[in-house]
């Protein structure tokens, strides 16, 4: 990387400053540095988080009162499709890959990812996918003069995607956007696996590797297995729509259920692909602020690998009402329930890490604590949904919507916020403002619980998901109003967070290399790290190399096998 040469800029020398500006832009556009790509992933995901959140707000305004006419049914259907697709593919995936890209080489003592150019390619192709998805608002009507943004739902069940039910190009934009994002995801996953396998610094055996790279390794392998069927299904759908094949075209004998299998063999591992990095953040942040080593490191690794394997055989729990028959339902119920065991092990190990520690309630730790409680609840409602007959009632109702938002927001987004407060100093060299961070935390907490606690109840009272309005006599009105009020709290909190990110970049307290007194390698280099990360390749003798440095009288290496 080009090192920054200090140049004295005289006021009024606009030609020079403009050239410096274009140099900087060119540097970012052409960079292959894992840290810059990581930050670009994160910024890109944050932009889409704001867009997807805005869509959620519009949805909540429409549903606040029965028989509302704030948006048309057609517009509403586009909103929930775009909200789901955006949040999963263009917020969740890129933000987690962004943190992975930034942190993994630093944590394993490497100077970059294994394939820097592939890294850059993966980012830009995913980014293009997101832009293409939103271009559908302009280009969706194509030559047919019908259609706009996709309106088939984020799981786009066949045969609603067939040309007869979805004329115009809206579904094509969805298909191509996901195809591109999938190619990018597989590229990055490949890169992460290669980096972790091949680029660890001397002394870092797999059983000394921090848990964050371990979990990213599991997640990346899952990306190979899960994203490939989705990509294949998108190609089959394109063939159905334009070449006249009949994979999913039921009017010509195709199978709607086949699409469901293809989608959910991707879709359920995807949930774990998103949640494992969140666990990874918790594995790094909770020990630091408990001032203790993670409890049960081997069990944590085993549980993560176990979750990775089992999550590949649970997909049909999305299909309990499809008519799989009693034997199929029983198998998938068992697989789904048993995944609660490794997940439980993780929660118990975090609990044991807190136990006996000296817990510091910093802003990242506040988010991590909320994550623990909320993930517990999300897991328990997940168990309720794995009980097949219970799912016959709850499936596709607002209870399910509340459950998976508890996972995606209450667990994953909370740990992403926590990770921001924790690693922002490393990435920028400046601390995030604590007062604003607490405002963000408490407002978001209030909003989250108003929205997603109360969202369970309309589901129990019979409210299906994806309806643009509902009857006034069903008794769902008050509950939906509360849910919508919570959304406003979350929106305000998110704006505070974004403001904090921007203002602290310029005015934040200078962080120093190791503001949290932490133990992994990324804290041993400057904040932000130089282009080459480490002047001297580090050598490690335990899972917590900085603990060993700070406590030479009692290093971890005395206790690890």
């Amino acid at each position: 990387m080009a090192t920054q040469t200090p140049i004295a800029i005289s006021k009024g020398d606009t030609a020079l400053s403009r050239r410096l500006f274009f140099d900087a832009v060119q540097d970012w556009l052409t960079t292959v540095d894992h840290k810059k790509i990581g930050i670009m992933y994160i910024v890109y995901a944050l932009l889409f988080l704001v867009v997807g959140g805005f869509e959620a707000l519009l949805i909540r305004i429409q549903l606040a009162i029965p028989n509302n006419t704030f948006v048309s049914p057609q517009a509403f259907n586009r909103l929930f499709t775009m909200h789901g697709t955006t949040m999963v593919f263009f917020v969740g995936m890129p933000i987690l890959f962004g943190f992975g890209n930034y942190l993994i080489p630093l944590m394993i003592g490497a100077r970059d990812m294994a394939f820097p150019r592939l890294n850059s390619f993966s980012f830009w192709i995913s980014a293009f996918g997101g832009v293409l998805l939103y271009f559908s608002y302009l280009g969706g009507d194509g030559l047919y003069g019908a259609g706009s943004a996709p309106d088939v739902g984020w799981f786009a069940y066949a045969p609603l995607t067939a040309r007869i039910f979805s004329p115009g190009h809206s579904t094509d934009y969805w298909t191509l956007a996901l195809l591109l994002s999938g190619v990018g995801s597989i590229g990055t996953a490949l890169n992460i696996v290669a980096t972790i396998i091949c680029m660890r610094c001397p002394g870092m055996r797999l059983n000394r590797m921090p848990l964050l790279p371990w979990l990213y390794l599991v997640t990346s392998v899952m990306v190979f297995v899960a994203v490939s069927p989705l990509t294949a299904a998108q190609i089959m759908l394109m063939l159905d729509r334009y070449v006249g094949s009949h994979f999913f075209d039921t009017q010509a004998g195709g199978s709607a259920v086949l699409w469901m299998h293809f989608f959910w063999i991707f879709g359920h591992p995807e949930v774990y692909i998103l949640v494992l990095p969140a666990f990874a953040f918790a594995n790094e942040i909770i020990p630091v602020f408990s001032r203790k080593a993670i409890f049960g490191y081997p069990a944590m690794v085993a549980a993560s690998v176990g979750i990775g394997f089992i999550s590949l055989s649970v997909w049909a729990h999305h299909m309990f009402t499809v008519g799989l028959g009693p034997y199929g339902n029983t198998f998938f119920a068992f697989a789904t329930m048993i995944i609660a065991v490794p997940t439980g092990i993780k929660i118990f190990n975090w609990l044991a890490t807190l136990w006996g520690g000296k817990i510091q309630f910093t802003v990242p730790m506040m988010f991590a604590v909320a994550f623990l409680f909320q993930f517990l609840i999300a897991g328990l409602t997940g168990i309720m949904l794995s009980i097949v007959p219970f799912d016959w009632q709850l499936g596709n109702s607002y209870f399910v919507v509340a459950h998976f938002h508890y996972v995606l927001v209450g667990a994953i987004l909370y740990m992403i916020f926590s990770a921001f407060y924790f690693w922002y100093p490393k990435m920028t060299g400046r601390m995030l403002n604590v007062a604003l961070g607490k405002w963000h935390f408490w407002l978001f907490l209030i909003g989250f619980h108003l929205t997603f606690d109360f969202m369970h109840i309309p589901g129990i009272l019979g409210m299906p998901r994806r309806i643009y309005t509902y009857e006034a006599d069903r008794g769902w009105g008050t509950l939906n109003m509360i849910v919508s009020i919570g959304a406003i709290f979350q929106a305000v909190a998110t704006l505070i967070f974004v403001y904090n990110l921007v203002s602290s970049y310029f005015k934040g307290e200078v962080a120093g290399a190791d503001p949290w007194d932490a133990w992994t390698l990324e804290w041993s280099t400057t904040s932000p790290p130089p282009g080459y990360n480490f002047a001297i390749t580090p050598t490690v003798e335990s899972r917590r190399p900085l603990w060993d440095l700070k406590h030479p009288e009692d290093p971890d290496s005395n206790y690890e096998e």
């Binding site: 049914p73 057609q74 069940y157 045969p159 609603l160 039910f165 039921t250 199978s255 709607a256 408990s290 001032r291 203790k292 080593a293 409890f295 049960g296 490191y297 009402t321 499809v322 008519g323 009693p326 029983t330 119920a333 329930m337 609660a340 065991v341 092990i345 044991a352 807190l354 136990w355 000296k358 817990i359 517990l376 609840i377 328990l380 168990i383 309720m384 009980i387 097949v388 007959p389 219970f390 016959w392 009632q393 709850l394 596709n396 109360f454 129990i460 009272l461 019979g462 299906p464 998901r465 994806r466 309806i467 309005t469 069903r474 008794g475 008050t478 109003m481 509360i482 406590h551 690890e560």
Partner: protein, 340 residues
């Protein structure tokens, strides 16, 4: 303010649980819904217990082990504990045991519902989902109805459940009347079955639970559980051919308008030239309580508005606006309302 809203919403939830027309899954009115309800209570009990234990321990740990800024050892790191195989084993085995209990209870209800012995007196109804309405065919009774499903109540001593054979004409749909049973999807090229056996007469509500297109929200379900006498009466009335030879001249003129417009290419009125299959059967449309799949009450004014512009009540409905003049609209309305 929130506490007030919460108590209000809980109160309204409880009220709707006890009343007819409820859509709460905790107000079961038939065997499948009741067995699900029993299982749900067991599961709720177990997960609540788990929550209390784990959340309690977490809260205790957070309070007990919070860092204290003062004290002799304030700057010292706490003792480092790396793990314990015995403890790991215990919190692996106990969840496994809980899973086994849940799994056995689940399997029992799956099989008792999906593999239930079918009584000989069971009634067969074929349910076909359409964008965005329900078609009900009674093959043994020769009845074709739409949007309002009439079934007999089932006496536990002489069970007369209704078996629904389900498929779809277009996209995926799902049949969900929460107080009677769990939902079952209607999928094109696939036959699913489910059964219901309400034991009290009355109207049971629900709606489509699988996103099926623009008007998914207004694809409402109405199930009328009739006493045997009521049901026999309903069957007899539905088996009659459509009313013809009107004494009312408006209705007779309306019949002519109906038959000379595109109406007949999508709608059937049994015994007339109207034999379309794309839209709901209108042979006895006047006898129904609602139109547009439960979206609005069946009144002459609503019929007139719907025929004039279906998108007024259901934007995205597949029926096109008929562009009739006011006079013809009045006549067609008179005709449709008299199709009792």
């Amino acid at each position: 303010m929130f506490a007030c809203q919460i108590s209000l919403s809980v109160a309204s939830a409880v009220q709707s649980v006890s009343g007819q027309g409820s859509t709460s899954i905790f107000a079961p009115h038939g065997t499948p819904a009741q067995s699900i309800f029993g299982l749900s209570m067991l599961v709720l009990g177990i997960v609540t217990a788990i929550f209390l234990v784990v959340a309690g321990l977490l809260t205790y740990a957070l309070l007990r082990y919070r860092a204290r800024p003062t004290g002799a050892d304030a700057t010292q790191e706490p003792p480092q504990i790396y793990g314990s195989n015995q403890i790991e084993l215990s919190w692996t085995v106990i969840p496994v045991l809980i899973v086994v209990i849940l799994f056995l209870a689940t399997t029992r209800v799956i099989f008792s519902t999906e593999k239930a012995q079918r009584p000989t007196a069971a009634l067969d109804v074929t349910v076909i989902g359409h964008q965005f309405w329900w078609e009900y065919r009674y093959p043994k009774l020769g009845i074709v109805a739409a949007n309002e499903l009439h079934i007999p109540i089932s006496d536990p001593n002489h069970p007369t459940p209704t078996y629904l054979t389900m498929t779809s004409a277009d996209t995926d749909h799902s049949f969900w009347v929460p107080v009677l049973a769990g939902k079952m999807d209607l999928i094109p090229n696939k036959i699913n079955t489910m059964w219901v056996d309400p034991q009290a007469s009355g109207l049971y509500l629900g709606q489509c639970a699988q996103y099926c297109g623009t008007q998914h929200a207004k694809m409402l379900l109405r199930v009328y559980a009739d006493t045997p006498a009521q049901f026999a009466l309903w069957v007899a009335s539905q088996q009659k051919p459509a009313v013809t030879g009107f004494s009312n001249s408006d209705a007779a003129a309306g019949e002519a308008v109906f038959q000379h417009n595109a109406c007949i290419s999508c709608h059937t009125v049994a015994g007339t030239v109207a034999t379309g299959r794309f839209g709901p059967d209108l042979t006895h449309v006047g006898s129904r309580d609602t139109i547009a799949s439960g979206a609005v009450p069946n009144t002459p004014a609503n019929i007139r508005t719907f025929v004039d512009d279906p998108a007024h009540f259901k934007p995205g409905a597949l029926m096109p606006p008929m562009h009739l003049n006011d006079h013809d609209l009045d006549l067609v309305t008179a005709y449709l309302t008299s199709l009792k």
